[in-house]
Symmetry: C5
Subunit: 361 residues, 5 copies
Amino acid sequence: MASKPKAGRTSVARRSKKAGLPPGTLVYTGERRVESVRMTVIDYDERHVQERHITSIDECLPFRAAPAVTWVNIDGLHDVGVIETLGKTFELHPLLLEDILSTAQRPKFEDYEKNLFLVLKMLHFDEHHQGVETEQVSLIVGPNFVLSFQERVGDVFDSVRDRIRSGKGRIRKLGADYLAYSLLDAIVDSYFLILEKLGERIENLEEELVGNPSQRTLQQIHALKREMITLRRSIWPLRELVSGLQRSESPWIAESTRVYLRDVYDHTIQIIDTIESFRDMVSGMLDIYLSSISNRMNAVMKVLTIIATLFIPLTFIAGIYGMNFEHMPELEWRYGYAVVWAVMICVAAIMLVYFRRRKWL
Amino acid sequence: MASKPKAGRTSVARRSKKAGLPPGTLVYTGERRVESVRMTVIDYDERHVQERHITSIDECLPFRAAPAVTWVNIDGLHDVGVIETLGKTFELHPLLLEDILSTAQRPKFEDYEKNLFLVLKMLHFDEHHQGVETEQVSLIVGPNFVLSFQERVGDVFDSVRDRIRSGKGRIRKLGADYLAYSLLDAIVDSYFLILEKLGERIENLEEELVGNPSQRTLQQIHALKREMITLRRSIWPLRELVSGLQRSESPWIAESTRVYLRDVYDHTIQIIDTIESFRDMVSGMLDIYLSSISNRMNAVMKVLTIIATLFIPLTFIAGIYGMNFEHMPELEWRYGYAVVWAVMICVAAIMLVYFRRRKWL
Amino acid sequence: MASKPKAGRTSVARRSKKAGLPPGTLVYTGERRVESVRMTVIDYDERHVQERHITSIDECLPFRAAPAVTWVNIDGLHDVGVIETLGKTFELHPLLLEDILSTAQRPKFEDYEKNLFLVLKMLHFDEHHQGVETEQVSLIVGPNFVLSFQERVGDVFDSVRDRIRSGKGRIRKLGADYLAYSLLDAIVDSYFLILEKLGERIENLEEELVGNPSQRTLQQIHALKREMITLRRSIWPLRELVSGLQRSESPWIAESTRVYLRDVYDHTIQIIDTIESFRDMVSGMLDIYLSSISNRMNAVMKVLTIIATLFIPLTFIAGIYGMNFEHMPELEWRYGYAVVWAVMICVAAIMLVYFRRRKWL
Amino acid sequence: MASKPKAGRTSVARRSKKAGLPPGTLVYTGERRVESVRMTVIDYDERHVQERHITSIDECLPFRAAPAVTWVNIDGLHDVGVIETLGKTFELHPLLLEDILSTAQRPKFEDYEKNLFLVLKMLHFDEHHQGVETEQVSLIVGPNFVLSFQERVGDVFDSVRDRIRSGKGRIRKLGADYLAYSLLDAIVDSYFLILEKLGERIENLEEELVGNPSQRTLQQIHALKREMITLRRSIWPLRELVSGLQRSESPWIAESTRVYLRDVYDHTIQIIDTIESFRDMVSGMLDIYLSSISNRMNAVMKVLTIIATLFIPLTFIAGIYGMNFEHMPELEWRYGYAVVWAVMICVAAIMLVYFRRRKWL
Amino acid sequence: MASKPKAGRTSVARRSKKAGLPPGTLVYTGERRVESVRMTVIDYDERHVQERHITSIDECLPFRAAPAVTWVNIDGLHDVGVIETLGKTFELHPLLLEDILSTAQRPKFEDYEKNLFLVLKMLHFDEHHQGVETEQVSLIVGPNFVLSFQERVGDVFDSVRDRIRSGKGRIRKLGADYLAYSLLDAIVDSYFLILEKLGERIENLEEELVGNPSQRTLQQIHALKREMITLRRSIWPLRELVSGLQRSESPWIAESTRVYLRDVYDHTIQIIDTIESFRDMVSGMLDIYLSSISNRMNAVMKVLTIIATLFIPLTFIAGIYGMNFEHMPELEWRYGYAVVWAVMICVAAIMLVYFRRRKWL
């Protein structure tokens, strides 16, 4: 969780590395997260499917030429040369390549006529730090190919791969746009898992809040609040992205795919809705925490007041008969001591009744 | 009431079950609320009406073909096979079927050219938990049929059924769009009952707040606030739904029905308005609670201060004459004791006047 | 004022009475505020004016047919039969009639082609409860007639009637649209009187707040806040109503009347503006109240601290020489008592100087 | 400053005077601020300029007819007859005349085809009350004339007059629209002076806040806040006014003048921007004030706690040896008194170390 | 940092200098920041580049005539004559020249048909005052020239100059619009550096807040908050500026440059996003500060309460046996003293158990 504030700062720091360089200069601004770049090609149509690990971009040229759908997936972005070659092979705009490498991008959709470009965030729940980690994913959709770029190995696309391999569902019958939709859908679906984790944490925190709130609880509420800020930043722009894609007039999006994109759009709205209610809940928790603090203070004050107001007058009475005047008639009276005790008990009783009336006891 | 936070979480959890499945996969994400699926068909036109319980979708095929309006109502969604058959019979889009089964949908309206699709929430006030429960209702409107899907038996449609049976009002003379409007109207009307319940609870809480606010009052205010969040989530999107339906250019909505939809739209706005004023009221209650807490604290402090400042100086005076110095002329003086008492009474009187001036008494 | 919270609730309760009835069913949802329905007809053109109390709708049929402007005013809505007959006579849409009788309507403008329908609120300041009461007024504008419906006798239209009777101004020369504008204008003008009353109350409360704020002040601020919520609900939708009317393309609104409607629109904006600044003022008052409470608490604490910190050390010194040790050299010393007094006075003086430095005195 | 709240109320009270009068009735709703109405005519074109005080509207008829630009300025609005005559002379709409006399108008722009109508506010900083006063200015722009109306003598138009007299700049070469722009510009420019005064007050208050905040500071912050509300109300609508004028398709605004209006628009935005940052600053000051209050309370509490917790245990020890038991071995012990002192000093020292550790000293 | 509030005020003060002057009057409203105006011309096309310091505007006339791109940069604005001559040479609108000299402009884009005009802010982080300083930069883009105006020597354009000199990248091949884009991009890129500095300060403050929050921390949070206000004011309008430029239909912006402008637009959005999250963070810090203050108060109160409630009853008991009654049987009892001690220890123990139960220890 402690890594979240840095996340914001780092994204700025990443960009600031590039200040002054000409536009289109390819510099990888993220951390080097994998040893070597891993490239995979999947090529399929209704009748065949072929999957291969490649080591050089040139190996995917034959697939590019064929009419079947070609999906090239790149894990690891630190090798600028690879990206550059790919750019030339698939005729990508230099600014597009630059955006792939700038891992602090805001999710967005851009239409570069020759192809469509999508940047979005993949979220992982890091069990160790109990925080959400973000990884940038870029998708490029062209006439019959999809390119996907990730910062490291490991993703949520396995279900898509399985469907392609097994030929289950519609995916093998449809084009590159449907593949792109499937990847987008897989990412958006994975957000529900993250939200579920967050929901669990909110619930735990709520129980802690009712049971035994402490300074730590406050810190956790603030940590949660901040994480929600990060999440919103990654997910809000998605709404615009998906609706842009859906309404785009690009020839690379078939009419039949739009209805699926509308479905993704609905999911996005639902996620944003959930985040907003989580935010409301967390705000409510903060209010409850603060008012429980002031309730406690009240309780402490009451105890102090009861004890002090009970004994201060009694101590005064005792003080009176502790004085050493020569002429104090009560002192010599036989029942003086007993009467003083009686008076004291009366005073205390009256006070207790008063406290009870005021509902302090 | 305690079940509300879970509601939010559960809706996410439901969705997350489906992460990774291909789009259009039919999985029922809700709880199994009824033993077996119950299907009813009502077929009517101006001259006849026929009502029948069916056990298989095939039984409604003859109704489908006839020109009369056919209303098929399904209670219980756990039998995916039934939904699938229905989908084929009425040529429904797979994504539409998926949405019917995903019971965590946000209310929405979608135009699938061949038919119109509405998802909305039916609200029940659960007297036992003193909270609002939501149930998803889906409506499909086609050329001369309406399909309605509910999670369990029991709904607010009985008034509509009665009107069809008795031929009261316009309903038998008009088409499937008017039937859909009537169902929508019945649901929206039932929200007013829920709002009335909430209004009662707010009023009770207000009386409690003025009379004897406690920690429990605060918890109830927060519970109410959260319930309002849930309600808003169910009802806000309705506005868009109804106005979408009204402005839709679908041939399945007759021009004459639009004026009725405008009426439903007005009711929706009125409901949203009421929720917003309830929210304002609840916020105001929170402010009153907090300031009454700090007022109490003030009162406690005042009592402490009055008692302490009254007796501390007096005790000091008593302490002085409790000292054991050999040469203390006052002690030997005949009227010493009486004079000390007089001084003490004076000091106390001055203090009391001071307190009265400051309006502490 | 106490009736305000109920207002919100009642409006919902009123609607909920009708849940399940077919649309267009005429049910009066308000209270029965008058003994019997009172109907008045005013018929006028540039040369003549005729005013008559009628007991049956049929009596206004001859006026309806004539080309002069006919204004039918109905006080009291509980006689559903009257409304129904009127509906048939003037060919009104059933939903329109239903809205007239539902007295919890939100102000709105609707264009029913054959005529225009306006619902708005008349506000009365109830001197007894020191609160604002609302009454629903409906206006129907047709080719050469205006129908107005009120819940009870007594309105702000007398100035309009006087102008018609005397032929003062333009009113007799212009059509039904100008009459409708005049009625609308009279209602909007009456809001300024309500705002003036509210302004007075705010000013009084402000003086109370500066002079002698109490728990009652807080309750009044909250009551004012809530009244403002009610007012906003009645007046905000007016903006839309007037601008809708102004921009409407209905043939029943002459081009020359639009400039007058723009004037009403400006007044509406000015009223909304004033309500918004009142809200800001009331919020500011709440802040002042709360900080004056915490200032008082501060003052109380200071007095306690000063008295306690002044006497606690002195009492300790007295306690020392109240001990009964056999060997306490100071006790036997001749000037012991005087020296102790001197020490005590010094300690007190030092403390007082310290308090003064810290600006506590 | 005390006059500000009234300002809001008065503006309502002014309007409420007119409730029930027919539209277009001319009633001056402001205070009578000048003895007699003062009228001035300036008539100019590129070659000549003529300036004259007139006593009757008829005197400006010859100027009206001539093709040169005619500027009629009226100081004082209480003589309704003058306004009426002017209205007839220049063919002004009755609603326009009514708006000129209603000095509680919201700034607005209206296009009455035959001429353009602008209402705006002139602000004066009243050094005596340290508050901002508003005066209503109305401008009417026609084919070759400008009419300006003010509540009293004294304005910010002298620089414009000087430029006309001297023939400096473009003003003599251009038409009535440029003159209207120049007057508008002069008013907007004068707002910067007001903002500067406010900025100074904010700065002074900030110094007071850091140096020695008192209850008075709080009152001043609230007074400032309220003044900002008044200012916003006068200036926000200006934005719409200027952009309306700029985008208007009236033939009385030359194409070349629009670029100047864009300039005024920019200034308006800049003023609104400044007001918004002032508001943010004042809000920040309120937060600082409140937290400094609670910091002080903290400091007071600490002193009380230190003194009390230091001496209460010591007083208890002294109390022990003030008891009169017959058998108290310590009392008879030779070094008893010295040991008790030693114990007391130890206890005090331990406490002081504890306080230091907790950073209370 | 202390200079920030002044910034707002000064910008107003600057403008107020000009109140009453005719539009288009050239007055430099900033401070004189450099000794003498420095002018540089860079003239280039694909094959040649020429760079020269000039002392008079006339020297750039030959470059103006040639088809190559001409970039004239002016450092220092106090010499109004220079600006005026330049205005004549390049046919600039007088209002445009006025805006260049008014250094309190809001960032904006204006299309003066003959050329495009951009005003924006260059930000410097002043290490000495630990605050952000702003400098106004104006850009004018014409058919084949760019003019840039700065308040003083020293800018972020060096990287652009280097690229022109070396012929690296596309810059030498493209026109004046690409040059303008490059300058804009350089400024926007430099904002990331400023954001990084701010991010560092936020992080430091957060550590201080967790470790040892003091009154100084609060002041720093507020200083940061205010700096954020200044930053927002400089950067928010940029969004509109860039999107205006991108969507402009001016012939001076080539179609191919628009894609680069979209890139700058994305960066602007990203900067605004970051500022917004910084604002959220700073708000969160304020909440944490305030609740840590009240937590401390709580701790202080607890200690006071524990000590006072522990010893006040004990002192009372001691006071009892300090009374001087003649008949007090306990005093004569042999084990009286020991029993009193035992009672006291019991009372103290019970209290301690109670405190522990309430979790105060």
